[in-house]
């Protein structure tokens, strides 16, 4: 993970979390995993972090991601 202002064909005024595995900007909730906040562990809690090691594909679908935190 890196913080970038540009990438994936988009640009932002403030640097945002960019996943170097999926080559895309990540959702803010996912950035908490990337940053290991709140005792989250990227190796255990991020399917994209683990997938390259195991060779498995993620089943996550973020095409329309409802906010589950009200």
């Amino acid at each position: 993970m890196a913080y970038r202002e540009e990438g994936d064909g988009r640009s932002f005024e403030t640097a945002r979390a960019f996943c170097t595995v999926t080559e895309s900007f990540v959702q803010p909730m996912r950035a908490d995993v990337c940053n290991a906040r709140y005792e989250l562990d990227p190796a255990a809690d991020c399917e994209f972090y683990v997938a390259p090691e195991s060779g498995s594909d993620s089943t996550a679908d973020e095409s329309e991601s409802p906010d589950a935190d009200r």
Partner: protein, 280 residues
């Protein structure tokens, strides 16, 4: 809350969910994230008919924030930009420690309303927002202490059981919010909302959320059943397929449909009376 309420032309409470805490500008370039952006969207939505503003707080880069201080910044900006709308703070927060979940309740003044997630739900492949009964009870207790009206978030039928079990502990009228979408939310289908409404005891007010393309049909059905509606970019980014929306557009559409169906849009004062709120 029944079809009779629709026939009687009961005012509709429109809640605008402006930003949320999951997706950000990576998903919608105009999704409000900073206090100034959220306040600007709040003012536009109030003018379009929203009487309740559902608020999350974020860091400057759009990432989630839970501190009372950051919620204070957001709330202060929204209060300054709006006339009289009701502020509703989110207490949701997948993976956030329980102590942090209380922080949004601790602004000065306290929000008139706050969300209360009624049970567990999944996020991504490996995260779960546990929302244990202990946490729900402690959040509810603090809301009562600070005279904050809880909106019970019913993501699925199990959460309806949880909500009904504490009904006697709620101030009148209890206010439940039914969510429809994918994952651990209820399947979005009209018959599922009908079943929910039939299960409600008399005197309970309800609100409806439909995620993504289900926002328009599920909220419209709510209007016909005497319920209230929540719209906004937190739940749905599109006005129609392929066309990104603004918060204001989504509120204006909900207001127009409500009026067309014979239900006037509730003013903030009417909302306070309908939901039994303490005042701004």
């Amino acid at each position: 809350m029944t079809y009779d309420d629709y026939l009687d032309g009961k005012p509709t409470v429109i809640t605008a969910a402006l930003t949320g805490g999951v997706h950000g500008k990576e998903a919608h370039p105009d999704l409000p994230e900073t206090p100034e952006e959220i306040a600007s969207a709040a003012a536009a939505c109030e003018a379009a008919g929203a009487s309740v503003l559902h608020l999350h707080a974020r860091r400057e880069n759009g990432e989630r924030a839970f501190s009372a201080e950051r919620f204070q910044e957001v709330a202060d900006a929204v209060r300054a930009a709006t006339d009289d709308a009701v502020l509703q703070h989110s207490t949701g927060g997948t993976a956030a420690p329980d102590a942090l979940r209380h922080e949004p309740l601790r602004t000065d003044p306290a929000p008139e309303m706050a969300s209360l997630d009624m049970g567990p739900l999944n996020r991504y492949d490996r995260l779960t927002s546990e929302n244990t009964r202990e946490l729900v009870a402690s959040l509810h207790a603090e809301m009562k202490e600070r005279e904050i009206k809880p909106e019970l978030e019913v993501f699925n039928d199990g959460h309806l059981n949880e909500s009904l079990s504490i009904l006697d502990d709620l101030e009148d009228p209890p206010y439940l919010n039914f969510l429809f979408g994918g994952g651990t939310t209820s399947p979005p289908h009209p018959r599922n909302l009908l079943n929910r409404v039939e299960a409600l005891p008399e005197g309970v007010e309800f609100n409806v959320i439909g995620f993504g393309p289900h926002q328009l049909p599920m909220t419209t059905q709510s209007l016909l059943l005497g319920g209230h509606v929540r719209v906004g970019l937190e739940d749905n980014r599109y006005y129609e397929q392929g066309e990104l929306a603004t918060n204001e557009q989504l509120v204006a559409r909900a207001a127009r449909i409500s009026e067309e169906l014979g239900r006037p849009v509730a003013t903030p004062d009417q909302t306070r009376e309908l939901l039994g709120l303490r005042g701004r």
